[in-house]
């Protein structure tokens, strides 16, 4: 197991399937790295110098050596390890060959960028380790085991106003008022009244007169008067029919809905 590469721990908790254990040390080693950058960082650390002073050429050689050995053992390497190997081989050739001044980016820049990346990954790995080593709540320090808790009690502030109160009482009182059914006196003219009125008005005149002339006079404003007028007309009509039946009057109507004319029958008893 390489220094710096943490052992694969099946109890680790990250929702990922545990690594397949094959018993092949090298395979396990490679599996233990989180990608080629991780492997490079580990190799760089083995130079036991500050990451700012690592030898990129040496690092490239070590990485390529690792990949070669893995291939010699016919291990299947993930594609990104091979891509990195190819890129590092290219970088190495650029660094060793006479340089082309126009080349962008320069091999030095590529090497420096790789170094910067390794420093950043190294810094975060260290920071993570320091975080995990702190006095952690629930592991090293504990909050109160049985806090009473602070309960939130809801209290209702009831609202009502005086008008609503009085109105409610009014509604109750209304519901409870004894119910009395009163038939209202209606403005009507009875048949008897119409008979009496027509008999009196007929008198002794022998002229034909429109039945409507016998209706009682009434104001023409207001619903009550209109109702009385219709009632008077109906009653007077019935009275006219009744008088005709008794042989006291004769009736003439020239056309449908035309004026109904009435006169005392000649020779009738008064």
């Amino acid at each position: 197991m390489a220094e710096g590469a943490e052992p694969q721990d099946d109890a680790l908790w990250d929702g990922l399937p545990p690594a397949v254990a094959t018993g092949d040390a090298l395979y396990l080693d490679l599996d233990g790295w989180e990608g080629p950058l991780d492997l490079l960082l580990d190799l760089a650390r083995r130079q036991k110098v500050d990451l700012r002073r690592i030898s990129i050429l040496e690092l490239v050689d070590q990485y390529l050596g690792y990949i070669d050995r893995a291939e010699a053992l016919k291990l299947e390497l993930a594609a990104d390890y091979l891509v990195m190997a190819a890129w590092l081989a290219y970088l190495k050739s650029l660094l060793l060959l006479p340089r082309d001044p126009d080349m962008q980016p320069s091999p030095e820049e590529m090497a420096l960028r790789l170094q910067l990346r390794l420093q950043r990954l190294g810094a975060m790995r260290e920071a993570g380790a320091r975080l995990m080593a702190r006095d952690r709540l629930g592991r090293d320090v504990f909050t109160r085991g049985a806090p009473e808790g602070i309960t939130l009690a809801r209290r209702s502030l009831w609202q009502a106003d005086l008008f609503g109160l009085i109105q409610a009482y009014g509604q109750i009182q209304h519901r409870n008022r004894p119910v009395v059914h009163m038939v209202r006196e209606r403005p009507v003219m009875t048949l008897d009244a119409a008979l009496a009125r027509i008999s009196a008005l007929l008198g002794t005149s022998l002229e034909w007169r429109d039945l409507r002339a016998f209706l009682p006079p009434m104001a023409i404003n207001g619903a009550a008067d209109r109702q009385l007028a219709r009632s008077a007309l109906a009653s007077s009509f019935l009275a006219a029919l009744e008088l005709a039946k008794q042989g006291r009057v004769e009736l003439v109507q020239a056309e449908c809905f035309g004026p109904l004319l009435i006169r005392p029958l000649q020779g009738a008893r008064p």
């Binding site: 504990f142 909050t143 109160r144 085991g145 049985a146 009473e148 808790g149 602070i150 309960t151 939130l152 009690a153 809801r154 209290r155 209702s156 502030l157 009831w158 609202q159 009502a160 106003d161 005086l162 609503g164 109160l165 009085i166 109105q167 409610a168 009482y169 009014g170 509604q171 109750i172 009182q173 209304h174 519901r175 409870n176 008022r177 619903a223």
Partner: protein
Amino acid sequence: MSAPDDLVRAVEATLFAAQEPLRADEISRHLGGADVRAALALLAEHYAPRGVHLVERGGRWHFQTAPDLAHLLRREKEEVRRLSRAATEALAIIAYHEPVSRAEIEAIRGVQTAKGTLDVLMEAGWVRIAGRREVPGRPTIYATTPQFLSHFGLSSRADLPGIGELRAAGLLDPVDEAYAVLTGNREEDADTPDEPGEAD
């Protein structure tokens, strides 16, 4: 008080983190067999004037907030709520007829009154139990409170308008009938849905 020694601190932390009250021998076992009785006594003394006390109940020790501060553990949140129609009617009946029993309220309202309705009125502080009526069954009777008067801006119950005034104000007219008068099958203008209770 000088800084507590390590055993006192250990007992303190153990009891603080414990999920249940612990017997002295349990604490002792937990701390490698040390005699913790002196430490418990010291801690109880130290916490006596504080907001948290160390108490022994049936041989088990635990921390708890000081009894005089128990009210701090309840936080109240106030919610404004309108009185329901049923509660308003019940309140009106109590106000006009007090003291009344629930059966009497129901007789006047013409409908059953849920127990919760009276509870709400009592919770609001407007109604109180005023004793029992000395009739068979000795029913509880209810009356209004001084808070009722102040909430509704009344100096006394005599300020409540009488039946005559209610009628004059149209408040005895049922809402729907008053409305029908205005909008019903008269030939007059049928499009004046005025305030109910206002017409005639």
